[in-house]
């Protein structure tokens, strides 16, 4: 009896194993590591994958989802061991390091093999002439203005030049009520304030922190005028206290609580601010440019980028998934559910028609150009830290401008060798 039972069990196990193998032989399973699924409404991203699977019989997508930082660690580990998922969600700040390591496939080659027309792509992150990352959706960083505080300070319109911004920040600052004009997060834990809140001033006036792809801080008039402008506001006491330990979430919290009149922040935070403080009356405007500047304004942004692993055995199928996400229709849907701007120039997210604030932001987006020079640079996060350290000393009056820029430039150059 026992022998019969063991025999049946062995048979069942054998069938299951062979069945599994048969299934594995039939379908190609693409692993897709990203941090997007947890940040989207439940089930929405999986629904897009189901649609892809229905359109591409024989290809299944296995989503490997986690928080942003965990995804980065997972991809780093995968890159180190040659086990990176077939398709990976990427931040522009990571690309250079993975390309150096040879763990990302050239999308230029995959696009060419698939005869893909890339004219609809809003941007491509290239290194050495080849594309390694495509921004799927973009989160731009305009200026958020607390209208009630602004009106109370006697100002009717959002500032559009640096002088107007400094004047508005001074007018908004009210020490008795614990209100500051602007908030500047410079935490060493999350140094992205250097990208979003400092260098964005350079890009908004058409400037650059690079020259021929190399650091160009010393003697750069665009960078100098931006940091001097910030230093002026710091000395005037119009920046929220505690700047050197504030993080991005602290910045949003201060603005949401009405303790700060203006902040530069991601559009992704609109819904969060509305949830936390439905009474807050705020508007969005483009980042002010240097006085007298008339050219197009660079708009800082962060992306959900996508890439294909070099170690993937199914690169052609992986490209199909990338192409699906970048198609006008899918990209519109994804940007709608993510409250982001599309990576396909022909896509239009739903919220632009239904939400006044997003519509205003979309105008800002259309009238400027996406600018984030840290994207694609080596050890981008470290570059921000290396700039942040002497910048804090400069703001505190412990270091002269020339010395600060020289130290930052030398540190940066060490990473470009």
């Amino acid at each position: 009896m026992n022998k019969k039972l063991v025999g049946i069990l062995l048979l069942v196990v054998a069938l299951l194993v062979s069945g599994g193998n048969l299934m594995a032989q039939d379908d190609i399973v693409l692993e897709f590591s990203q941090w997007w699924e947890p940040e989207l409404p439940a089930g929405e991203f999986r629904a897009l994958m189901d649609e892809f699977e229905a359109q591409n019989p024989g290809i299944k997508v296995e989503l490997i989802s986690g928080p942003y930082s965990a995804t980065r660690d997972l991809i780093v580990a995968g890159a180190a061991t040659g086990t990176m998922s077939d398709v990976v969600g990427l931040d522009g700040a990571w690309v250079n390091d993975f390309v150096k390591q040879g763990s990302l496939a050239s999308l230029t080659q995959l696009m060419s093999d698939a005869a893909f027309d890339d004219s609809e792509l809003a941007a491509q992150i290239q290194l050495g002439g080849a594309t390694y990352m495509i921004p799927v959706v973009n989160f731009v960083y305009p200026v958020f203005v607390n209208l009630d505080l602004l009106n109370a300070a006697g100002i009717e319109t959002a500032p559009s030049t640096r002088s107007e911004f400094a004047a508005a920040a001074a007018a908004l600052t009210n020490a008795e009520n614990n209100v500051s004009g602007w908030v500047l997060p410079l935490s060493m834990e999350q140094p992205n304030g250097i990208q979003n809140d400092v260098m964005s001033w350079v890009w908004a006036s058409g400037g650059s922190m690079l020259a021929n792809g190399q650091p160009n801080l010393v003697g750069n008039a665009d960078v100098i005028s931006a940091v001097e402008f910030i230093k002026g506001m710091y000395d005037a006491g119009v920046i929220a206290p505690g700047a050197f330990s504030l993080r991005e979430q602290d910045k949003v919290e201060e603005f949401t609580n009405g303790r700060v009149g203006m902040m530069i922040s991601s559009l992704a935070h609109i819904n969060l601010i509305r949830e936390r403080n439905p009474e807050l009356n705020f508007a969005i405007s483009a980042l002010p440019a240097a006085d007298g500047y008339e050219g197009p304004r660079g708009l800082p942004y962060a992306s959900w980028g996508i890439g294909v692993a070099q170690n993937s055995e199914h690169q052609a199928e992986a490209w199909k998934l990338v192409a699906f996400l970048m198609s006008a229709e899918t990209n519109s849907r994804l940007s709608s559910i993510a409250n982001a701007f599309p990576g396909n120039v022909k896509s239009t997210p739903d919220f632009v028609q239904t939400d006044e604030l997003f519509a205003a932001a979309f105008d800002v987006f259309l009238n400027g150009y996406l600018a984030n020079e840290f994207t694609g640079l080596p050890v981008a996060e470290q570059l921000m830290r290396e700039f942040n350290e002497p910048f804090q000393l400069y703001l505190d009056g412990e270091m002269e401008l020339e010395e600060f820029l020289t130290i930052a430039q030398e540190a940066w150059l060490g990473n470009f060798e």
Partner: protein
């Protein structure tokens, strides 16, 4: 007769030797799960990190790793940022351990006092032990809120007239290190308190009575009876706490991230940034081995102290 005797020996010898071998292996079989875990979770990672520390181009690089011997250690040692992190770590750990000892002992003596009734004693026990209940991330969030320039601490100081302006506790280069050290002291003293309380309750009343008969005052009783009786606990706790504090990462990372301008940079945050921000995994491995060496140095003293106590 002789034949049967031989046969008896040959039949009996084989099972006995097998049984003897089995008997010898049994202890190792019991130990094998622990040994396996130690190898997989400790020895292999430590050995891997040690090998990485002797190489260049590891993990995030297209170039093959190359052996550079002690090159990473030399580079780290001459790095000003490493020396600053080492100094900060020693100050942070030294002050924390000392304050933990003093506070833990003081609260333990208070709770052990016969002057306090049972109910207030139980209440104070709960209050004093609360900081130990929170995880490091909760402690960091809590104190970030309390020490925010618009937070409760500044509000109280300004209301009581003890400060004129908002103090930037975690953003000031002068105050950040004392502030994070204070937070660490606050979160760590209950462990000492509980341990000392157990130690105090284990000291025989006979010793104190004998001391009183000899005319000792309360200060002399504390110095000549309480302290010597608690000495093994004090030494053990101080050593363990020093090792734990040098490893402190979450609290520093979540409050200051090592800033402003590296004034709260510790060996743990320095190592993390080297590995995950600069992708210098080989140098990060060298730093990790230096932290291990410091911990081992203290651990040797701890083990020696334990052995002496047992003897």
């Amino acid at each position: 007769m002789e034949h049967s005797h031989t046969a008896r020996v040959s039949i009996g010898a084989k099972p006995r030797s097998r049984w003897s071998l089995t008997r010898k292996l049994v202890p190792y079989a019991y130990l094998s799960p622990t040994i396996l875990l130690l190898i997989v979770l400790s020895l292999i990672p430590i050995a891997t990190v040690f090998v990485y520390s002797l190489l260049d181009n590891v993990i995030i690089t297209r170039n093959p790793p190359s052996f550079i011997g002690l090159g990473n250690y030399v580079e780290i040692f001459f790095d000003n940022h490493f020396r600053q992190a080492l100094t900060n770590t020693l100050v942070f750990s030294g002050v924390s351990v000392l304050a933990h000892l003093l506070l833990g002992l003081s609260f333990a003596l208070l709770l052990n006092s016969k002057l306090i009734g049972a109910v207030p004693k139980a209440l104070f026990r709960v209050i004093y032990i609360l900081p130990w209940v929170f995880t490091a991330s909760i402690i960091a969030i809590l104190w970030r809120l309390l020490l925010n320039p618009n937070g409760v601490v500044n509000f109280l100081l300004i209301t009581l007239g003890l400060a004129n302006d908002q103090i930037e506790w975690l953003s000031s280069r002068q105050l950040a290190l004392p502030a994070v050290t204070f937070i660490n002291i606050w979160s760590g003293y209950p462990f000492y308190m509980v341990s000392f309380l157990a130690g105090l309750q284990g000291i025989s009343d006979d010793l104190y009575e004998a001391g009183k008969i000899d005319g000792a005052n309360s200060g002399q009783l504390f110095r000549y009876i309480t302290l010597p009786q608690l000495k093994p606990i004090i030494i053990s706790l101080a050593m363990l706490d020093f090792i734990w504090t040098t490893h402190q990462f979450t609290l520093i990372w979540m409050t200051t991230g090592g800033g402003p301008t590296r004034t709260t940079e510790m060996l743990s945050t320095f190592t993390y940034k080297l590995a995950f921000s600069s992708n210098e995994f080989a140098q990060a491995s060298a730093t990790a081995m230096i932290i291990l060496a410091i911990s081992m140095f203290v651990a040797v003293f701890y083990v020696r102290n334990q052995r002496l106590a047992n003897d």
